[in-house]
Amino acid sequence: MSELPGDLLYTSEHEWLRKEDDGTVTVGITDHAQSALGDLVYVELPEVGQEVEAGGEMAVVESVKAASDVYAPISGEVVAVNVDLSDDPEKINADPYEDGWIVRLRPTSDDGESMSPDEYQAFLDELED
């Protein structure tokens, strides 16, 4: 497994968050998540402007194997979605932390729980045992 990017936060649902300079938060799924899902073939994205709640369903990623919900790691308003994923869902497999981003949110509150890279790594190590 490749090393986790150090500038991101992570959730127990295997999503990552990046706090952008403009106050928005970019969200995707981790390398661990894409690897467990296998080749992705479809991504269902939310509408821009939609309000999401921390822990609520925000998007769906479907692989050759199964469908999997992507949960909102924080409450917020969807300000952008990665429309490239409609035609190229495999971008998530190829580059989960950059080209494979899924949603950008403008936080509406300070909720949601996340982990540092070290904490997430420890969480993954525990899953492997």
């Binding site: 296998g38 080749d39 073939v41 479907e62 050759v64 199964a66 469908a67 409609s86």
Partner: protein, 368 residues
């Protein structure tokens, strides 16, 4: 820890993702299921199918036993080396398993059944065997490798002893030869040309390595499933089981009704079902929208009724979702499928979806 085939170590060394399949630790994929799928459609792929159960049936009554046991008629196997696909039914016409029978000559047959059904199949065969003078013998010591794809035989030819090579390459579909200790059949589960090769377990690792050296790509069960779905080939446990008859699983063509006096297990139940006009259809579905059809999703046919998807997934060749479904009787070519609380449009089509690398259905979404 599950059962392991003789190739397990090779799979792990090759970086395979291992999953449990019917009690066996099997490779799901070696990195990318999609790439493995395309390799088989365009070139050649190798599958470890050693988990499947090989059963040899031999003796004076071997033929009579199989004519009693199977819904298809092994009397059709007139010459050694011929193969026949059939269902093995229970008394109510439900499918105990689907299998391939090869005639080996001299009252000897080889039957290959599924892995996950091994125990109940052997028990069912034993139960049906009592009145017949023959022997049913499992050959657990044998391994099996499927080489599939338009270039599979050509690339694998070097793996066959020169004395047998020409004959193996000349095999017609559903024919087999015994080449020394290799049993080579022109059969498969992908909709492509290829061989399935049964061999002693101790030969399997070297044979596998040679296949890979010959440019054949190792493929896991994931690709095997999307390939067989595109090919419109049923999967036992999903598309049919003991509560479903071959008539409701698109397998009516495998029932040998003639001769009328052949009394195979399940015949009277099937005969009754055959008369019913409200019998469900088994058909292919193609999703018009984006999304993925999955097993067990509900199919809605306006004004007619409801059905269910028995196998659904993404077709890498057609780049859209396809499914097999049991749906209400009637003449219609449109339906809807409930996907996460939304009803999406599907077209009802004849299978296969893909055969020999080519789409068999119109994929533009026009009415055909």
């Amino acid at each position: 820890m599950g059962n392991k085939t003789p190739l397990y170590e090779a799979h792990v060394a090759a970086g395979a993702k291992i999953v449990d399949f019917g009690g066996w630790d099997m490779p799901l994929h070696y990195g990318s299921q999609l790439e493995e799928h395309h390799a088989v459609r365009q070139h050649a792929g190798a599958f470890d199918v050693s988990h499947m159960t090989v059963v040899d049936v031999s003796g004076t009554d071997a033929r009579a036993f199989l004519r009693h046991l199977l819904a298809n008629d092994v009397a059709r196997l007139s010459t050694p080396g011929r193969a026949l696909y059939s269902c093995m039914l229970n008394e109510t016409g439900g499918v105990v398993d689907d299998l391939i029978t090869y005639y080996r000559g001299d009252n000897a047959y080889r039957v290959i059944v599924n892995a996950s059904t091994r125990d109940k199949d052997l028990a069912w065969m034993a139960k049906q065997a009592s009145a017949f003078d023959m022997v049913v013998k499992e050959r657990a010591e044998l391994a099996m490798i499927a080489l599939q794809g338009p270039e599979a035989c050509e690339r694998a030819a070097s793996l066959i002893d020169p004395g047998w090579r020409e004959q193996a390459l000349a095999l017609r579909p559903f024919h087999a030869i015994e080449a020394g200790d290799l049993f080579i059949a022109r059969t498969g589960y992908t909709g492509e040309d290829g061989w399935e090769v049964v061999m002693p377990a101790e030969r399997a690792a070297a044979f596998w390595r040679s296949a890979l050296d010959a440019g054949i790509r190792p493929c896991g069960l994931g690709a095997r499933d999307t390939l067989r779905l595109e090919a419109g080939m049923n999967l036992y446990g999903s598309d049919m089981d003991e509560t479903v008859s071959p008539l409701e699983a698109g397998l009516g063509w495998t029932i040998a009704w003639e001769p009328e006096d052949r009394g195979f297990v399940g015949r009277s139940a099937l005969t009754e079902m055959r008369e019913r006009s409200d019998r469900q259809r088994f058909a292919g579905l193609v999703l018009e929208d984006k999304g993925v059809l999955r097993d067990h999703m509900r199919v809605v046919v306006d004004g007619i009724g409801e059905g269910v998807i028995t196998s659904g997934g993404f077709s890498p060749t057609l780049e859209r979702s396809i499914a097999m479904a049991r749906i209400p009787a009637g003449d219609y070519d449109r339906a809807k499928v409930e996907v996460r609380n939304r009803l999406l449009d599907v077209r009802v089509v004849r299978m296969p979806f893909v055969r020999n690398g080519k789409a068999q259905i119109d994929i533009q979404g026009d009415k055909s």
